[in-house]
């Protein structure tokens, strides 16, 4: 399996409610994150994530109305987060350069109390999406063609 980059559809990674074969996933969400995504979708319409880097709130996933952040070949689609009750899953993106340093880890989008920064939609709720990480297993790495 190869990773596709760029702004096009990518059905080769993630399942996100999309009927794809059971494959290793790069990104998932906790139930608290899924609940918040549902609430935020009611307020803001369909959403997207772009994982940030750098200082201040770098390393935090930024959640935007879908299309607000312009994607390009500089970005890679890590997967889709399924949110029951929504018409479509929430895609999760990261810059290709950053992914090179993150690709051996599985990401879980979680929610904590806080107010973040940047233009992420949830900050006014007193909540902040954040990333928890674990190492991909060798089997997962193999499935994701990372070995």
């Amino acid at each position: 399996m190869s990773l596709s980059s760029g702004g096009g559809d990518d059905t080769s990674v993630g399942d996100g409610g999309v009927a794809t074969p059971a494959v290793a996933r790069r990104v998932d969400a906790t139930s608290a994150a899924v609940d918040l995504l549902r609430t935020m979708t009611v307020k803001h319409g369909p959403l997207m994530f772009h994982q940030s880097g750098g200082c201040c709130d770098g390393s935090s996933p930024m959640c935007f109305p879908d299309g607000e952040f312009i994607l390009s070949d500089a970005d890679i689609h890590l997967g889709d987060l399924a949110v029951p009750g929504l018409d479509r899953p929430v895609p999760f993106w990261m810059s290709v350069a950053q992914y090179e340093y993150w690709k051996h880890t599985h990401l879980t989008v979680d929610v904590v109390q806080g107010r973040g920064s940047g233009f992420s939609v949830e900050a006014p709720e007193g909540l902040r999406f954040m990333i928890r990480s674990r190492l991909l297993t060798d089997d997962e790495m193999a499935e994701l063609a990372l070995l």
């Binding site: 200082c55 350069a97 940047g118």
Partner: protein, 507 residues
């Protein structure tokens, strides 16, 4: 040693109102939608005042005020603008202690740092740009004996500035001083974690500037920052923060065809060569302090020396001494001048740091000291305190590649100069770096070889005005802290003048 009273208490020099509006057009105004948010003291986790929750309507009101003031302010003489900046600096200096206390309480950082660094640097910054402005000259180019090109500096007009939460006053001043000196009016959006201390600044110095020249609108990024950054009525946007928002701001700027300056952080290497330990003298002691600088401002610095690269031959002994120095850090009430490290600025920041402890350990990094939240007990129990932490591992680990923005350093070793340079440059970022050696030739080669905008050589974390600061690679665009920042806030007007009475002869 002094323990300052909590702002708002009877014996504190810092008063706290129950709520604060926006500062627009020289007046304190309520947010148009009437909403406020709680401002939390990171040392206790408790709210201590309410701050206006700005929206697009407030940003538009601030832009109205700024545009109404812009022509007159842009026409003031350099001497007048310079004098007003000097007056601001004088007022800040006369109130240094109170502003330092406010900054400490809003951000969570130790008051010894705000007293000795944040406020003195901010004051000096206004004086520096007051001086730069007086000394700035345009240009005259002789095209031929009758044709002259005159180059004038003109202000951009109205600019937007979005400020981070790690140095709420100092980072605002880094942007305000050159923008105001250059003759611009400003709409400033502080960080939602630290919205208050800059308002204490405005209470003191607001009257020094004509109404509308400085406008402050607080609020959340998506509600107030975005309407400012994407606004057609700003001539430039300046932002300090992270890469995704930096890209988004550039996207907005591209749609309005305006310039941006961006400072987006780093993962600064701090490189210690073996000759550092050739003698256990004053310089060795300075190098150990240099290692420990990762804990300055609780690590919430874009140039935090969060990767320490130590030559293998000295690693074991040097690390033992360095860890001892780290363990001497005193955590406590940030208002106590004996406290050397305060609280993280917010709960989500704390949680993020803890999540990096987790992935650091999973990746096999060794914890040499720290590695957990610190519970300081009493009313500080709810504060966002983290133990100063030293990890040892490999540069490919995520704790070596992401700006944790906490008091965390990741240590690795190198064999020789080429190895050191390779590891130092193996990062997406290039904001700061440190090189420690007694060999000036090596220091020079490393300094030129590291792809970063600032290479501290035998020092770290000094931020004097007149030393350019800014990033290579993904760390951003532009240079702050230097007179060249005046150019980032000015247009160039060229008058091409012919003194010849003769026609060209084309028609």
């Amino acid at each position: 040693m002094t323990v300052y009273s909590t702002p708002g208490s009877a014996d504190s020099p810092v008063s706290v109102k129950s709520r604060y509006g926006h500062y627009i057009g020289g007046a304190w105004v309520d947010p148009i939608k009437g909403q406020y948010f709680e401002n939390i003291a990171p040392a206790t986790g408790q709210a201590f005042t309410e701050i206006a929750r700005g929206t697009a309507e407030d940003i538009e009101a601030a832009l109205d005020a700024a545009h109404a003031a812009a022509d007159a302010w842009g026409r003031t003489s350099p001497a007048e603008r310079s004098n007003r900046l000097l007056k601001i600096a004088d007022i800040m200096e006369a109130n240094l202690e109170a502003l330092a206390i406010a900054e400490c309480w809003d951000n969570g950082k130790a008051v010894r740092e705000t007293l000795a660094a944040d406020l003195p640097l901010a004051i000096d910054h206004f004086r520096y740009f007051a001086g730069c402005l007086r000394a700035q000259e345009g240009g005259i180019s002789e095209i031929d004996e009758n044709t002259i090109a005159y180059h004038f500096h003109e202000p951009l007009g109205v600019v937007g500035q979005i400020i981070p939460w790690n140095f709420p006053i100092l980072m605002a001043v880094w942007k305000l001083a050159p923008a105001l000196a250059a003759g611009n009016c400003v709409v400033l959006k502080p960080a939602e974690q630290t919205p208050w201390s800059i308002l204490k600044f405005a209470e003191l110095v607001g009257d020094v500037l004509p109404a509308g020249v400085l406008n402050i609108v607080n609020g959340f990024g998506v509600e107030a920052g975005k309407p400012l950054a994407s606004n057609k009525r700003v001539a430039k946007i300046a932002f300090t923060g992270e890469t995704t928002t930096g890209r988004l701001i550039m996207q907005y700027a591209s749609q309005n065809i305006i310039p941006v300056t961006l400072e987006l952080g780093g993962k600064s290497p701090n490189v210690f060569f073996e000759d550092v330990a050739s003698s256990h003298d004053a310089f060795y002691n300075k190098a150990l302090e240099g290692f420990t600088m990762f804990a300055l401002n609780q690590g919430e610095v874009c140039t935090c020396p969060s990767r320490a690269l130590i030559q293998s031959s000295i690693a074991s002994d040097f690390l033992a001494d360095a860890v001892k120095r780290v363990e001497a850090i005193v955590q406590g009430n940030p208002l106590d001048t004996a406290t050397t490290m305060g609280a993280q600025a917010s709960n989500d920041q704390l949680e993020k740091i803890l999540s990096y402890f987790d992935i650091g350990r999973q990746e096999g990094a060794k914890t040499l000291t720290g590695g957990a939240r610190a519970d300081l007990g009493g009313e500080l129990s709810g504060g966002y305190f983290v133990q100063p932490t030293v990890f040892q591992g490999d540069n490919s680990m995520r704790i070596f590649q992401e700006e944790i923005f906490g008091p965390v350093v990741s240590v690795t070793t190198f064999d020789d100069e080429a190895d050191a340079l390779k590891i130092a440059n193996d990062t997406l970022y290039g904001l700061g770096a440190g090189v420690w050696t007694r060999d000036s030739g090596r220091a020079y080669r490393m300094g030129r070889g590291i792809k970063a905008g600032r290479v501290w050589t035998n020092c770290f974390h000094q931020y004097p005005a007149h030393a350019a600061f800014g990033g290579y690679k993904q760390s951003g665009i532009g240079r702050e802290n230097h007179k060249m920042m005046l150019d980032h806030y000015q247009q160039t007007k060229n008058l091409l003048v012919s003194y010849s009475p003769d026609a060209l002869g084309f028609f």
